[in-house]
């Protein structure tokens, strides 16, 4: 990274930088606690650097304080700038930046629940992950909190935002839904059919994954990463492995890189096909839904014959992959070529159907400024004009050597999100074909015996978008693992996308955003 950023921070704010540490493409700047808001605001608005994560770490034992990290992505330079502040245990609070950068909202509330550090001036200081029946002094990610603690249930009530007026009523939905989907609560305020307000209440599936990372061995942690969000297993596992490999300074063999790329794209294929099937189902286009579901199943069966797992699990490991997929190249190419033909037929029919167009055009519009403010990632962001893709902006695995387009649309409706996915299906097929044509013989894994103490970011573009891991290791164990699933960014967008739409269109809007509850709640 150019030191331009550090220099301009110095020039703008004087001597606020306490410590500077550069490791590979990550620059860590520890700054004075009271200057974090203005520096983040400056980076975000002046340099247009997206804020991709905020997380805390309990380093009281080593450094006598908590640390909060604000991670900014510098897309053009394939670099990350991380602003750090130290927080003393005796005054466990920090200034909220949500009023300057809206996407900070949930991160700050997460830090409040998990570490007991209070974001001063936060516009919505309610609890997020710890429900109201959790005791108020339990902060699971603090080091002195034992993972096996069974907390008593206390009395408390969650207060929803109220919309009042003549003819306004509420529709509560969930956490157990009518369809086969994950649990979460939606509170609609409606007047007739149009939605006036939606409030989502999640974190029902909070399983304590980040705490669990700190309590298992690094090898086993790969399996845990695969289970953060089941249908994005590969993206999570690769992001985690890359973080560890970065800490170890290890280069994985080319064959492993290409294998990972193929797995990542197979995962994107079955996810996008499933999402298109879901949208077709929700607009009652049964014929299209059946076809898309059949194509998804074919990819899942291909996954099984290539890797032994329909969800491509158990393939990634620190240093490469665990199983050689050699000998299956022909099978993959054959399946992809028939998928390509069938899929293009299906898309032609789907987009030509007036009953589909009527339901998806202008529905669930997510405007570019809102998407940008909330840092919406992946296909949902690209359908609202946000031209970002981790595969291109921060290349990993074999993506640097492969050619692909990143489809970007502007209208931000369900139609655009469906089309972005449809275009990405063709790109994925082409990426796998390219990867197979460059597949060279060689090792599939490099042995990494010792993992040094250190920290690094690992990232991938999951089917849902940018997935981020920050791992800190110490004595061959994980000291802290921050997981940022794309859904954690995208969930709040649904509260805006549904406004002025009618309740019966909610399922389509929800499906088109393709959100993971488990990845969000962890």
């Amino acid at each position: 990274m150019k030191s331009e950023y550090t220099d301009s921070i110095r020039k703008e704010f004087g001597s606020v930088i306490l410590d500077e540490n550069v490791s590979r493409n990550e620059t860590y700047l520890t700054v004075k606690k009271d200057s974090a808001v203005k520096i983040c605001d400056y980076l975000y608005h002046h340099f247009d650097a997206p804020l991709v994560s905020i997380f805390a770490a309990d380093e009281r034992k080593a450094d006598g304080c908590f640390k909060i990290h604000y991670v900014f992505s510098l897309d053009k330079e394939d670099a990350f700038l991380i602003i750090k502040i130290n927080i003393d245990e005796k005054s466990p609070e920090f200034s909220s930046i949500t009023h300057k950068i809206p996407s900070a909202n949930w991160y700050e509330r997460e830090i409040q629940d998990m570490f007991g550090l209070v974001p001063k001036g936060h516009p919505d200081p309610r609890r997020l992950i710890n429900f109201e029946d959790w005791p108020s002094d339990a902060y699971p990610l603090r080091k002195d909190f034992d993972i096996r603690t069974k907390l008593p249930r206390v009395k408390g009530e969650y207060v929803y935002r109220r919309v009042e007026g003549e003819g306004v009523y509420e529709i509560p939905v969930g956490p157990v839904h009518a369809g086969v989907i994950e649990p979460g609560h939606f509170r609609f305020s409606v007047a007739g059919e149009p939605i006036l307000n939606l409030e989502i209440r999640h974190f029902y599936t909070h399983k304590g994954i980040e705490k669990l990372f700190e309590n298992i061995s690094i090898d086993k942690a790969v399996f845990l990463a695969e289970r953060v969000s089941g249908d994005n297993s590969v993206a999570h596992a690769v992001a985690f492995c890359q973080a560890i490999e970065k800490i170890a300074g290890a280069k994985i063999p080319p064959r492993a890189k290409y294998t990972r790329t193929i797995l990542l794209e197979l995962e994107r294929l079955y996810n996008h096909l499933g999402d298109i099937a879901g949208i077709a189902t929700d607009v009652a286009y049964a014929f299209g839904a059946a076809h898309a579901n059949r194509l998804k199943e074919e990819v899942m069966q291909l996954n099984e014959s290539v890797t032994g797992s329909r969800l491509l699990r158990g393939m990634n490991t620190i240093g490469g992959v665990r199983r050689d997929i050699g000998g299956r190249e022909e099978l993959i190419l054959e399946k992809l070529s028939s998928l390509n033909l069938d899929f293009s037929d299906l898309m032609e029919l789907l987009f030509a159907s007036p009953s589909v167009a009527d339901r998806i055009e202008t529905t669930g519009r997510l405007y570019n400024d809102i998407a940008k403010g909330l840092h919406v990632v992946g296909p949902a962001g690209r359908a609202s004009g946000i031209d970002r893709d981790t595969r291109r902006d921060h290349p990993y695995a074999a993506y640097r050597e492969l050619a692909f387009d990143v489809p970007v649309l502007k209208s931000g409706d369900v139609n655009a999100r469906t089309r972005v996915r449809s275009d990405e299906v063709y790109e994925s097929i082409s990426l796998i074909e390219q990867a197979l044509s460059r597949f060279s013989d060689g090792d599939i894994k490099v042995n990494i015996k010792e993992i040094p103490d250190g920290y690094a970011l690992g990232y991938t573009e999951a089917p849902r978008g940018e997935t981020l891991y920050w791992v800190k290791t110490s004595k061959n164990r994980i000291e802290r693992c921050k997981v940022r699933d794309p859904s954690f960014c995208n969930w709040l967008a649904i509260e805006y996308a549904v406004l002025d739409n009618i309740v019966p269109d909610f399922p389509i809007i929800n499906k088109s955003l393709s959100l993971s509850y488990s990845g969000n709640d962890m």
Binding site: P175, T205, K211, R227, N293
Partner: protein
């Protein structure tokens, strides 16, 4: 043997059992008690044109009040515990509970922690366990077959 052949054999056997015991189709309510969503991927797959379990007399319903069986996934998170109990209580007797996936069986990789309950049977009685992470659709169909036999035994016991 192809997936389709395996499926046809198991499906037909299951269909006969369901007809004998229920005289109608088996109604299932799926409950996610904190899974990672991989099990949901496979439950959804059961309804695709390849598996198409409706043809074997299995119907996934929208409410526990319509269900003969709960198909529960996930380790039962602290935040889902109450919702699971409410769903169980809303299901009419005689009812069956199938724990689907490693987490539902014993907590799986998430284990027994401050946030994860460590398996369904710590909270509600379970009739069958369908292991796997996630179980393949064929395994789920096999598990349903075992569960239906269990219901038969349950009814006989009551009558005797």
């Amino acid at each position: 043997m192809t997936v389709e052949d395996e499926l046809e054999i198991m499906g037909q056997r299951l269909n006969e059992k369901i007809k004998n015991i229920f005289g109608r189709s088996l109604h299932i309510r799926e409950v996610d008690a904190g899974s990672c969503n991989a099990c949901e991927v496979e439950v959804t797959a059961l309804s695709n044109p390849i598996y198409d379990i409706e043809r074997f007399g299995i119907h996934i319903v929208a409410s526990p009040r319509h269900a003969d069986m709960l198909l529960v996934t996930g380790p039962v998170t602290r935040n889902m515990e109450l919702a699971l109990l409410k769903t169980y209580n809303a299901t009419p007797e005689p009812k069956l509970v199938a724990a689907m996936g490693s987490c539902a069986c014993n907590g799986g990789i998430f284990g027994d922690t401050y946030a994860s309950g460590g398996g369904i049977d710590k909270f509600i009685p379970v009739d069958v366990y369908i292991p796997g992470c996630p179980p393949r659709p064929q395994a789920v169909i096999f598990g349903l077959m075992v569960a239906v036999d269990k219901l038969d035994q349950k009814i006989r016991k009551k009558e005797a």
